[in-house]
Every structure is written in structure tokens, then in C-alpha cells.
Assembly symmetry: C2
Homo-oligomer: 455 residues x 2
Amino acid sequence: MKEFTETDIERIGELIDSQNQEAAQQEVAELHAADIAELFQSLNLRQAEWLFNLIEDKEKKADVLMELDEDDRKKLLEGMDPEQIGHFIDLLDTDDAVDLIQELDEEDRDEVIQHIDDVEQAGDIVDLLQYDEDTAGGLMGTEMIVVNENLSMPDCLREMRRQAEELDDIYYVYVVDDDNRLRGVLPLKKMITHPSVSKIKHVMEELPVSVRTDSPIDEVAIDFEKYDLVAMPVIDSIGRLVGQITVDDVMDEVREQSERDYQLASGISSDVDASDSVFAQTKARIPWLLIGIIGGIVNSIILGGFEAQIAAVTALAIFIPLIGGTGGNVGVQASAIVVQGLANGRLDIKNAVGQIGRESLVAIMNAVVISTVVFLYIFFTQPTGVKYTVSFAVAASLFAVVIFATVFGTFVPLTLERLKINPALATGPFIQITNDVVGLLIYVGMSTWMLSIFG
Amino acid sequence: MKEFTETDIERIGELIDSQNQEAAQQEVAELHAADIAELFQSLNLRQAEWLFNLIEDKEKKADVLMELDEDDRKKLLEGMDPEQIGHFIDLLDTDDAVDLIQELDEEDRDEVIQHIDDVEQAGDIVDLLQYDEDTAGGLMGTEMIVVNENLSMPDCLREMRRQAEELDDIYYVYVVDDDNRLRGVLPLKKMITHPSVSKIKHVMEELPVSVRTDSPIDEVAIDFEKYDLVAMPVIDSIGRLVGQITVDDVMDEVREQSERDYQLASGISSDVDASDSVFAQTKARIPWLLIGIIGGIVNSIILGGFEAQIAAVTALAIFIPLIGGTGGNVGVQASAIVVQGLANGRLDIKNAVGQIGRESLVAIMNAVVISTVVFLYIFFTQPTGVKYTVSFAVAASLFAVVIFATVFGTFVPLTLERLKINPALATGPFIQITNDVVGLLIYVGMSTWMLSIFG
């Protein structure tokens, strides 16, 4: 929505550097917290701190803090003492509060929690901290409207009014029984269209989609997408309502998960983005590059044993890059299909055998096309003396490499998923390097065999 | 939520095959439309059609239709005449209706639209069909609650009650002036906490985040994430409220966009998933493989001109895969960072020069590490006679390739973005193949030069 131009940033920078408090305050007063956080990205730490301290509305300050990138938030928090941080946490929703506490150093956490004034808030946070970050419990907050199923609609509205004071947004109204077990949800529409019903359980929607606290986050995301939800109630093992997950957090998760998968597929080993420091970038990128180098060295060793064949038919050497490259490309395609199917829930690990079968057919079709094209090219371009050896060796190797690389690219992510390791780890460099090496081995073997036939 | 086991599917399949209408009807009666759509994936077309026709609730039938994959929906629609399709469209939300009509063949569209009974619905759909699919106008629906700013809260609630009858969900209440220009939104919380205010404009939130009909979808998605929205009003060029975009559609867009980017990066040229036919899979995957083959053939031609140097020092041949592979890996990393930064809005095309500068520094660091490691390895493993030539040729080439591939991998997606072409097209195979070829050219040149120095 709000876009800062170069001039905007220059102007604000000048206001800060000239310590013009009043004008700077006015500048940020009208901005949304998310926009202020975006503005901070264009400022240095000292400027951002100065501007942050000028924000008068404490709620807004807390919101700005949560809208920042984790790295930037950390820097701002480093300038604060535990008491100040505790006061901010008082103002945050519990799910954000838990995220913030988890970003703190282990030894600071307890002290910060001691400084949360609102005991109820502190209690909720301590409870939430026990859930694994990657589960529904770790994503939920405790801010929500909960009413008893036996209330009448007017009483329900009165109860909602009371509870709403502490909330920013209302998504659904959850209906529970006397033991706090989730019984239904009350859509806003029903409240408007049945203003005087005697018991809300008569108009609530029963059996709402819910998750247990220990459900993994990716399953939660799939349910949100499948059922088009804006919020989802979280229940404990005996069905009691313990929290709510909202769609904005799920959308962040979906974005983060696909970014992580994409980065892994591109050989980037930790979460970085374009604005991170050169050092962070290098650190995230060099590991896979070095693994690639090891693959290249293994290739050089394999080729070292191939010198006699190359000496006999030098034309064999010139098709080396073709073999490895094709194996890599084929393998990456196959693994991307699996990783994506597992991420969006359309591929079930129970169908592993079926998937490998289907991929084998795809592999055969690709292999036939590729081998034929390459065979014809080599056969009609190489000199008569070596054309049989080279064309058969290259085409047969390509056929074998395409089949192997496809099945391997399908099998590895499925196996990782079964071992509960992120299958995206397998795509990109790992598959590429392995297929490169295996492809070369196949080629060396095939060439030696063809030489023994055609000489 | 609902998971179908093998036994479930077998049982339902048997009910269908034995034409047991009553039991089958009971089976689907309790299922959510999204679950029925999921069940259809495990059935054949004939079975799915039979079960679909058994669903009594017409609204639910329409919902099932929209929950299906585009391919499956197409198959079901093929068995219906335009009149039936028109009746379903009557029951859909306008944004879904437009999606469905756009999936029909051009010549069927008009006839289907003629069969929409509700004239207002038909009019809205015809209006919506004029917007580009990739803009806010193409994503919005017209179902929403709109009230005049001068209403009192009790009148507003009465008006909402009237409008709510035709809606499934209520996200926000939009407040407009007498000319239908958007003035604010009324959060549910305000309705509850200010039940008797005389004019809602006194309690509405002014200046809500909104988009124009022609805003690109990816900008809409970034705003939803930034401001944590569940719905967003869409306005025309003079500020009149024309529609609403809901978070479920945006989440689908985010998922689809990142899947598309990931697939493109993996060399898959059209949208396929694990369950698509072998033919569809092959068709989506063979184009980039063939382009890879062309790259490999270009490499073989380059290497053909390198035979004299290989004959002089055969050890030069064995490091060929290392050079191309590294260039490919480095380029893919750099382009992934750019593509992702552009997709999530953290990288602005205005910062292109800065990004290339930063990447150049990353490239130099990576290049120093990689070249040093490889130089030392070759220097201490190759025989004395050739170790200078080979180690200097390989290390210097790697250095140059890493720099070139990084800058090229950064530059190409930035350029595509500027030309308004999806930058994800540039990642994966294209960058890889180009860098492979360029890497080899650098290596051939460098080797020839080193041979002239060290012999």
C-alpha cells in the first residue's frame, strides 16, 4: 500500500539527523505499524532506535516490534533491559509474545517473563511456551471469544462485548460446554439473523474443523487452504478448547515453508534474503558449493580412470558434460514434483510405490525422446570411424541416466519424508551432484563396453 | 481433517458399483464439500459422476464442483449441458463463477451465461469477466456487506441483516458515502462495543487498506501479508467500492505462485502435479530437457575445438565437469535470491544496482574459497609435469566462472522483472545451461593461455 520513495526516506533521514522530534513524530503518527517497520529497513540502527522511541502509542510500538524482521528486532531489543521488554510483551497477543520470547537468549527469558505485569497473560505465555514450535500449539494464541452453549443470543452478545475489549480482531465466536469442550462455532451471520434465539447451541455450527495441539503446522496449513478458514480452534487431547490459530500466521507459514523449500532446492542452506549481509549470504551458500566441488573432484577421479578410452577415441570426451547435465536436470524435475506434492498434500507417502511406478513411465518416455535425438545428432556429425562407438555409448548412457535419475529423484525425497526429514533437502544440489557422478560412471562403463564391440 | 483410509475408499467404491443409492447418499451427506472433492480423486470419472448426482443439496454440489482440481472439474462439466452449468453458476459466489466460466471453451461461455437465472448475478459476472485474471479485479467477488456512513448502528445492523441473507461469510462491513465511494470499514468489535452510536462514520476505521481493480495480484498478496488482512476492499479509479478480495483466494494465489516459481526453477514448464497423467508430465518436462541437450551439444562443439589442448595435457579433460557444475550451482543460488526477494516484496527493482554490487562481493568471497580449495587439491595430487598448468587453469577458471555466474544469475531475473516477464523463468535450467556453456568457454580459453605459459 504505502510505498516510500527515495525522497521520503531522505526527508525522514534528515529529520532524524537534525533531531527534529516534532516533525519526525508527525511523520510516523499516521503510518501503520507495518509501514514503520518497512521504513526502518532503510534506516541505520541508531536512526531506527531514535524514531522508535518517539512513537507515543505503546501498542503501536509493540506492533512495530513484531512487524520487523527477526534480525532487526533482535538489534532493537539488544538496547532494552528485561523490564522494558516485559512491558512490550504485556501489550502483545500471546502468540506473538511467545515468538518474541523464543527469540531471546535462554538466560534472559525467565527475567523477561518476571516483568510481565498481567499475571493472566504471563500464565498463558508460560503455558504456550511448552508447545513445540512446529505444532498447532506453538502457533496458536489464547485471544478469542468463548461462550457457553446454553447462553441465549442476547446474553451471548453481552458476554462477547465483555470479552471483546481485550481483543484486536474477532474471527469466530467459539461455543463450549460446561467442561470447556469445544462444541461449535457461531458465525457472525447467525448472530445477525437470529438475534433472539434462546440457546445459541440451537443455531451454532456443530463439529467445526479443529486441530489438536500436537498437529504439525503443515497439516494445519493444508486444512486452512482446504476449508477456506480464517481461524481454527485448537483443542487438547480431551477436546477442551485451548487456543486459536489465525489465517495471517498460517499464511506466513505457507510463505516461509515454500521459500525454505525453494531455497533448499537452489542450494541455499539457511534462510537468507536479498538484504542480508554479504557474510550471511556467503555462509548460507558456500556449503553446497563445496559439496558440489567434492562432486566435481569425484568426477575427475572417475575420469582419471577413463584416460585410456579417451586416448583411443577422443570424441568420447566431448560428450561428458551432456551426460552429467541431463542426469541432474531430470533428477531435479522428479524430486520437485515429489516435494511439492508432499507440501500441498496432494501426494501421500502411502502412494510411494505408485509414484515411483508412474515416474518410471515418464522416465521411459523422456529417455526415448532424448536418446533418439542425441543418437541421430552424433551419428550424422561424427566421422565414420568412431560414429558407432560414440553414438551408441552416449545414447545408451543417456537412456540409463534418465531412468536412474528419475527414479532416484523420486525415491530420495519419499524416503526422507518417511524418515521425517524435510524432503526438500534432497532436491537441487544433492540430487544434481549424485546424478552427475552416477551418470559419469554409467558413461565410463558404457563407453568401455562399446569400445570392446566397435573398437 | 478428514482422512480417507484405503478401507473407506474401498467401501464407498463398492457402494457405488452395487448402485446402493441410499447408503452412498448417507456416506456423502455428512461430508464437507472439500472432503467430497478429495474423495473424487480416488474414484474414476463414472463413479464420481454417479456420486455427484446423488448429492441432494444443490449448494453443496456447486461447492464440490469448485473444490475440485481444474482438470477434474472440466471432466465433470463435460457431461453437463449449458443449462445445468448455468444453474450451478447461480449458486456460486461471483468470483468462483467467473473462474468457472473462464475455464469453459470460448464458444460455450455466452450460452452458459444466458442460463443464469438471477439477472443481478449474471450482470455482476459479466462485469467481472472484463478484468484481467492477474489483477485485483480478476480475483474479487461482489458478495459483501456495504452500508452508508450516515446510518445509525441499529439501522446498520438492520441493513446488515438484510444483506447477510445472501452471503456465506461476513468478513468486514464496508462503509461508503452517498456516491458509493469507500470511506471506511466497521470492525465487528465496534459493532459490539458501540451498539447505539448515531452515525457509524463516527466509529468506523477510516482510510482502510484498499486496492484498485488494476493492481497486480502479487502486490495484493504482499499487502494481505503485510497488514494481516482477512479481506480487502477493491475500488475503481474514482474510489468507488466495486468488490472484495478474501484471504482464502489470496492464500491459494500465494501457494500457486510459489509452486509455479519452484517448478520453473526445477525446469518444469507448465503446472503439473504428482497425480497428473504420464503424458502431461512428459509434456511439461521434456522442453527444458531438450534445451539442456542443446546446451550439452554446444558444449561438445566447444570441446571439439579443445582436442589439441587435451591431447597435450590429458589431465585438463578430467576437470571439465567441475567447471560447468560450479557455474550452474552458483548461478542458481544467485537467481533464487533475486526471484524470492521480488516475490515477497523485500527486494525492489529500483535497487538492482545495489543488489548486483552486493552479489559481486558474495561472489568474490565464494570464488576465493572455492578456487583456493581446488587449487591446493590439484597442486598436490597432479604429477609435477602438469601441475602448474592444470592447477592454475582450473583455479583461475573457477574464479572467473563464480563471478560471472553470480552476476549473470542476479542480472537476468532483474532484467526479466523489468521487462514484466516472470523472473522465475530465469532460474534453474536456463541459468544452469548458460553458465555451463560460458564456464566451458572460460576454461578452454584459460587452459590455452596457461599451456602457453607453462607448456
